[in-house]
Symmetry: C2
Subunit: 741 residues, 2 copies
C-alpha cells in the first residue's frame, strides 16, 4: 500500500535569484512564507493595526523551502515521489542540486518520481519566485491580469494588500508501487425518471497491464450497488454500466444529500492490494433553465434576445437559491484548516442557505471544503480565479489558464455539490471590459464543456438579467433606501448585494489601537481595516448616514449597534423582497458571508474567523423556508405619517403546507397594537402568497423606534419582526429649526 | 499529378429500403433527385403556380444513384478514390454490391480509397435515405431539430415546403499517388503594426515520409514572399515563420481586398511533382469589440452586464457594416452555379454592402462563394445550420454536429472574407428557446475556439443589444410607421429588418396563372408564393395597408408600384437611421438580399434569381459611403400640416472629406421650392454630421405626392430624395364623410 512521509522544512530568502541564502528559518508546511518569516522575526500580528504594511517587502523576494531527508526504504517495486497538492505561485524544484521541475500555477498538483535521484541523504529545494506583477504600477489587482493568481490579495475593499506565497496545501513524500492508478474518471447521466444512472468510468495509470482492479460503489448503509472486478488489458480501462434505484443527492433543504462511496482497489500480479482510492459520489442532475416569465421578453421590434437563464433546477425541481458569497476565510490559504471550513459551512447551512458562490477573486478551496458541502447538502457555485480584470491573454497566459482550469475541473467535478462553473467575477462590466468574445472566457467554456459538460457554465456574474449591488442601505446620490431600490429592481437573480456594518466592539478592540478607537477617523487603523475609503469615501462605516438616522453616536457601542441594526434590517428586506419576486427571480446571494481577516466595517455576515454578526441571524430568519414577511416602504417615520406594509407568506417548502392565521401588530417599548388578523389557506409547494396591506397612522409616542410584529398562531418559528425609527413632530421641527440657524 | 474523372449517373427510387429498383432515370450531378425525377416524369416547373406540391411524395423515398464505370488505368503507385464535396443528407455507398461507407451530414466531404475493390467493370451506388424528420407532425422546421439539415426547406415564410436531397456538390473519381497531402493547416497572427504575419503551418497526409514538399506564397504581382522547401521526416510537418511588409486584406469599401497565392507542391522520391494545392489567402485581423457608449451602461444598481459587443474592427479600424442577409439562391443547392454566385455578389457590392450574413436556416455555400467574397472584398458572417429551433441534442445529434462543424470550419477558415462565425439564427428567442447553456451552442463555440480562434464567434443573432425586425412598414397594432419605430430603437446592430413588396409584374406573370392574377386572393398561387399568411395574415402583400395609403389599386401594375415605393422609402429610412445612430450602432443588414424562388411578395431586394427590385437601388443609395440624408417623421401629409426633416451628412469614408453645400428643396410634379442652403465643413473619417432641421407648412397643392430633395453642389453623386404622399384638406374631409355614412 501507499505510504505518506512528512518532511521538515526551513525557509530562507534572497532578493536576487539563485544567490546564496545565509539564514534559514523554521517553516510550517502547508503555510506561507510570510507567516514563517513573521514568526522568526517577531513581527506583530498582521491583522492588528497597520502591521500588514510591514510585510510588503516580501513581495519581491525569492524564497526557498529546504528539506533534508534520508532515503526511504523501498522494495524493488516501490517508487518514491515528491507530491504536493499546491504550491503558490511560480516555483522551481531541485533535488540534490539538480533542478528537476518548474511550474507556474498554484492549483495544479505536483507529483515527481524521484526514485532514481535519491541518495542516502537528500536535499530538496522548492524555490518560490516573487509574486506575479504584470507591471510595477498601479500596485493593484491589474497586476494579476496575466496570471492565474487569485487577485484579491493585491488589495480589495475588504482585504489589505498582502500577497501570500508558499506551499499552501498538503505536501511530502509518497512511496508506492510502480503500478499505480493515476486517475479515475467517473461520470454518469440519469434517466428521465431519475431512477437509473448510466455510469461511465475510465481508469488510467502506469504499469497497469495485467494488474487486477476492483471498483465498488456502496450506498450509505454499506450495501454494494455496483461492483466491477477485472484485469487491465492495457494501460487504461473503460467501461459503462447502469445502477438502478439510485438515491438522489439533494441540497439539505430539499431532501437528503445522499452520498455513495466509490472504492477503487488495485492489486499486483500476486493479488496483493497495492493502492486504494476512496471517494464520495452523489447522483444529481443540475440545469440552469430560463426564469419563469423571461421568455415573454423582450416585447417590441426590433427584438433582442431573452435574458440568460439562471433558474437552477435540481433533479427536475426548480428551486429558489438562497445563499452568500464565499471569500477566502484567511488571508493565507495555507492555514485554512478543516475545522474552520466545517464551522463556516455549518453556519451557512444554519443560515438556511442552500448555495454558496465561491467568488473568483479568491482561491479555489481545498478538497475538504467540497467534501463538506457535498456531505452537508450545500450547493457550490465555483468560479475560476478571474475577477474584475481584463484578462486579455498572451499565449503564455492561455497556457497557464488551460493547465490550471483542467486541474481545477478534474479535481472538483466528482463532488455532487458542485452545481455551477463560472468564468469569474464581474468580467462583463465596464471596470473589467471582457466580453463573450474574450478568448479566456471561450477557453474556460470550452474546458468545462470538454471535461464536465453536465454541469452548467456561466461566463461570469452578472450576466444579462442578473444584478450585482447595491452595496449601501441608502444610495448617496438618489437617497433611495433599500426598500425602494429593491422594490424597483427586476432581476432574475441577485447574486451580489451588500450592506455594511461596523464589526462588533470586541473585534474592533482586537485590531484598532486604543488611542485610535474613538471616534473613528480616516487615516488610522479604521481606514486600513476598510471603515473608510474602501469603496466610496465613507464606506464601509458610513458614519454620516448613521448620524442622519440615529443622531450622533455617543459611544463606540452605540455606533456599532446602530450600524448593525441598519445592516440587519436592510439584509432582511433584500432577501425577502428577492423571494417575493419569485419565480421570475430565482436566487439571492449577499455579499458576503465571511472575511479573510478582522475588518473594522464590512458587508459580511460573519466576522473573521467565524463570529456571526447580528445580521447573520436576521438573514437566517429571512431565509427560513416558510415565514410571515412584510414589504416595507421606509426605515424612519414621523408622528402622524401613515405606516403601511404588504403582508406575505414566503414559502420555499418542497411540499404542501398547512393553512394558518397571522396577527399583525405594531409595538413600541411600552405598547402593542393589533392591526389585523389574516387567515391564510394552505399553500402549494414552493409558492408564495400575497396577503393584505395594513395601514396605520402613527400616533404621538414617547419612543425613538417601533416594531412591526407578524405572529403566526401556534407557529412562533414562522414569526417575523421589523424595526423602524420614529420621531415626534415636535422633535422633527426642533431639528429643522436647528439646521436653519 | 492528380486526375479527376467524371462519372455518368442514373437515379431510381423505392419506398422501402433495399427493395428492387425497376426503373432508372438520367441524373445530373451535382443536382437533386427531385430535379431528375421532375425532368424524367415531365413535371411542371416547381416555381410555377402550385406545382411544388407535386413533389411532396418524394420526401419519404429511398433514392439511389447508380454509376457504372471501367477501372481507370493506374500505375503501381497510384490509387483511385471516390470523392464528393457533398451528398445530402443521409447516405450509404456501395461498390460492386459491397457496402463501403455510410454518412449522415451534407457538409462533410467523402473520400474513399476504392483501389483494392475495383474490377474491370464497376457499379457504384449512392443510396440516399428519406429526409430527416424528428416527428411526422407538425410538418415544419421542428422536424429538423435533431439534424444538421438546413431547416429552411421544410417551409418558411418565403420558401415552400420542398426538401432537396441528392449529390449537391462536385463528385467523381480521383486518381492520385499513394503519397498525398490531405490537409494544409495554415494560420497566422499579425503584429501590432499589422506589418508582419507570424505564420504557422502544418501539413498532414499519408505516406509522406521522405517526400519533398515546397510551399510558396506569392503576392498579387507574382513575387514570392515566402518559400519553404523540405522533406517530410514524418507523416506531418509543422513550421512557423514570419512574413514582413504584408499587404492587408480589406473589405472593398475600406481598401484593397489583397490576396496572396499559397502553392503547396508534393514531390515523390524521384523529385516528380505528384500533387499541388493552390489557395488564395489574405491577412486581416478581425475583432468584435464593444460598441461606443455601451460600456457606460447599465447605470443603476443592481447592475447587470453591458451588452454583447458587435462593433466590427478590421485591421484596427472600426467600421460600420452595411449589408444584407443571404439565403439559398436556389431551392436546390445542387444547381447553384458559379455565375449565379458571381452575379449576386457583384450586386451586393454594387449596393455598397461590405458584409453579408449567410443565414443559418440555409446551406453553407460552395467554395466559389467564399472565393468570390474574398476576391471582391465582401465580408462574410457565416452561421452554422441551426435556425429557430431548440436543438436540444441527443448524443447522436452532437456527434453529427461536431463532425459537420469541423468540416465547415476547416473548409472556410482559410478565406479572409470569413469575418464572423455564428451559432445560428434567432436561437435565444422564445420561438427557439435555446440559451447560453445549450450544449449545441457550447459545442460550436468550443469547435470554433479550437479550430479558428482568431475569428469572432457569436452564439446567435440577435444577442443582447442587437435587434431583429421589424418586418413591416407600419406596425399593425401600434400603427407606428418605420420612421417612428426606428427613431425609438436603440440597438448596437440591426442584423435583420424587412419591408415587403410585391414582385415585379413580369415575375408575377411567370408564376401566377392568368386567371388568378388579378385581384390577388388568398388560397391561390399568390398565397403559395407568400403574398398571404406567410408571417402574419396579410403578409407579405399587405394590400389593406397599401389601400389605406394610396386608395384602391386599379391594376396589378399600380399595386406593384405602390408596394415597391413603400418598400424603397422604408428601407432608405432604416439604413439611414441606423447609420445616424453610429457609433453606438455599428451594423445594418436587411432581411433579405435574394430569394430561392420567385415569390409573389417578399422582403428581398432582389427577385429570383437575380432581378433587382426598385428597393435595391434605394438601398444602394442609402448605403453610399457619403451622402446627404434626412431624418423624416412620416409618409403621408395633409395640406396645412408642418413638414419637417433633420438634415444630416452620413459619412463612412475612411478618410477626411471636403466641405460643401447642400440645397434642401421640396418639389411636386409642377413646383420646386427651396427651403434652405446648408454649408457644411469638412468631415473627419467615419464621422457623421448633424445639420439643420427644415420646417415647411404644406400649401394646397394639386398633387398626391411630393418629394424632399437634397442637392449637394457639384456632387450629384451625394444627392438624396424622399417621396411622400399628400392630400388636400378637401379630399381628407370628403373621405372622412364617406366613412361616416
Amino acid at each position: 500500500m501507499q505510504e505518506n512521509i512528512n518532511l521538515n522544512w526551513k525557509v530562507g530568502f534572497v532578493s536576487k535569484k539563485d544567490t546564496f541564502i545565509g539564514e534559514w528559518y523554521p517553516a510550517t508546511v502547508p503555510g506561507a512564507v510570510q507567516l514563517d518569516l513573521a514568526k522568526a522575526l517577531n513581527y506583530g500580528n498582521y491583522y492588528y493595526a497597520e502591521n500588514w504594511k510591514d510585510y510588503g517587502w516580501m513581495e519581491d523576494q525569492f524564497f526557498t523551502y529546504r528539506s533534508t531527508f534520508k532515503k526511504p526504504i523501498l522494495d524493488e517495486k516501490q517508487q518514491c515521489f515528491f507530491v504536493s497538492k499546491g504550491i503558490d505561485y511560480e516555483f522551481e524544484i531541485s533535488l540534490n542540486a539538480e533542478k528537476i521541475f518548474y511550474q507556474e500555477g498554484m492549483f495544479t498538483p505536483v507529483k515527481l518520481n524521484i526514485t532514481s535521484k535519491l541518495k542516502d541523504e537528500n536535499e530538496l529545494l522548492v524555490k518560490i519566485f516573487p509574486i506575479p506583477k504584470l507591471h510595477k504600477l498601479p500596485a493593484d489587482r491589474t497586476q494579476t491580469s496575466q496570471s492565474v493568481k487569485p487577485t484579491v490579495s493585491y488589495g480589495w475593499d475588504w482585504h489589505p494588500r498582502l500577497v501570500p506565497v508558499g506551499i499552501w496545501d498538503e505536501t511530502g513524500l509518497l512511496v508506492q508501487n510502480q503500478s499505480e492508478i493515476a486517475e479515475v474518471d467517473f461520470s454518469y447521466s440519469l434517466d428521465k425518471e431519475m431512477k437509473t444512472a448510466a455510469i461511465s468510468t475510465q481508469i488510467l495509470g502506469t504499469m497497469l497491464q495485467g494488474c487486477k482492479y476492483a471498483m465498488k460503489i456502496t450506498d450509505a448503509d454499506g450495501i454494494t450497488v455496483f461492483e466491477k472486478i477485472a484485469h487491465f488489458s492495457a494501460e487504461k480501462e473503460s467501461f459503462t454500466d447502469s445502477i438502478h434505484n439510485i438515491q438522489l443527492w439533494w441540497p439539505h433543504d430539499q431532501g437528503t444529500p445522499y452520498l455513495y462511496s466509490m472504492d477503487v482497489q488495485l492489486f499486483d500480479k500476486n493479488e496483493k492490494l497495492i493502492q486504494q482510492k476512496i471517494s464520495k459520489i452523489g447522483f444529481r442532475k443540475v440545469l440552469l433553465i430560463m426564469n419563469e416569465g423571461a421568455w415573454d421578453e423582450p416585447h417590441n421590434f426590433p427584438k433582442s434576445q431573452s435574458v440568460d437563464p439562471i433558474q437552477l433546477e435540481i433533479n427536475g425541481r426548480k428551486i429558489f437559491c438562497k445563499g452568500s458569497n464565499w471569500v477566502n476565510p484567511e488571508i493565507f490559504p495555507g492555514i485554512i484548516n478543516d475545522q474552520l471550513y466545517e464551522e463556516l459551512i455549518d453556519n451557512a447551512i444554519d443560515a438556511n442557505f442552500n448555495l454558496i458562490r465561491v467568488w473568483g477573486g479568491g482561491i479555489v478551496n481545498k478538497d475538504k471544503f467540497y467534501e463538506l458541502c457535498s456531505q452537508k447538502g450545500l450547493m457550490v457555485w465555483q468560479e475560476f480565479p478571474l475577477a474584475c480584470n481584463n484578462y486579455e491573454g498572451s499565449s503564455h497566459y492561455f497556457k497557464i489558464l488551460e493547465q490550471e482550469s483542467e486541474s481545477i475541473i478534474k479535481r472538483l467535478r466528482i463532488y455532487p455539490a458542485l452545481s455551477i462553473w463560472c468564468g469569474g467575477n464581474e468580467l462583463f462590466n465596464n471596470w473589467s471590459k471582457m466580453t463573450e468574445q474574450s478568448l479566456a472566457i471561450r477557453l474556460l467554456n470550452s474546458q468545462c464543456f470538454k471535461l464536465d459538460p453536465s454541469t452548467p457554465f456561466l461566463a461570469t456574474s452578472p450576466v444579462m438579467g442578473m444584478g450585482h449591488g447595491h452595496y449601501v442601505f441608502r444610495d448617496p446620490q438618489t437617497h433611495k433606501e433599500v426598500y425602494e431600490w429593491m422594490a424597483e429592481a427586476k432581476c432574475t437573480a441577485y447574486t451580489e448585494f451588500g450592506l455594511p456594518s461596523p464589526s462588533s466592539v470586541k473585534v474592533l478592540k482586537s485590531i484598532i489601537p486604543e488611542n485610535e478607537l474613538w471616534p473613528p477617523k480616516r487615516g488610522t487603523s479604521w481606514q486600513s481595516h476598510h471603515a473608510f475609503k474602501a469603496w466610496i469615501d465613507n464606506t464601509w462605516l458610513m458614519p454620516e448616514m448613521l448620524t442622519d438616522y440615529f443622531g450622533e453616536a455617543k459611544s463606540l457601542k452605540e455606533l456599532v449597534d446602530n450600524g448593525q441594526l441598519v445592516q440587519s434590517e436592510g439584509y432582511k428586506c433584500i432577501y425577502e423582497e428577492a423571494r417575493r419576486q419569485k419565480p421570475y427571480c430565482s436566487m439571492a446571494l449577499n455579499w458576503c458571508l465571511n472575511e479573510p481577516w478582522p475588518t473594522a466595517a464590512n458587508n459580511s455576515l460573519i466576522n473573521w474567523p467565524n463570529k456571526p454578526k447580528p445580521a447573520f441571524y436576521a438573514v437566517k430568519n429571512a431565509c427560513r423556508p416558510f415565514l410571515a414577511s412584510a414589504r416595507l416602504k421606509k426605515f424612519k417615520y414621523t408622528e402622524a405619517e401613515e405606516f403601511n406594509a404588504d403582508i406575505w407568506i414566503l414559502n420555499d417548502l418542497p411540499h404542501l403546507s398547512e393553512k394558518g392565521k397571522i396577527s399583525i401588530k405594531i409595538s413600541t417599548n411600552t405598547k402593542e397594537i393589533k392591526l389585523l388578523e389574516w387567515q391564510y389557506d394552505s399553500l402549494p409547494e414552493n409558492i408564495n402568497l400575497a396577503g393584505p396591506t395594513v395601514r396605520f397612522v402613527l400616533p404621538a409616542w414617547e419612543t425613538d423606534r417601533f416594531k412591526l410584529l407578524l405572529e403566526v398562531e401556534g407557529h412562533p418559528e414562522y414569526n417575523s419582526d421589523y424595526t423602524f425609527l420614529y420621531e415626534t413632530l415636535k422633535l422633527k421641527k426642533k431639528k429643522a429649526n436647528l439646521l436653519n440657524f
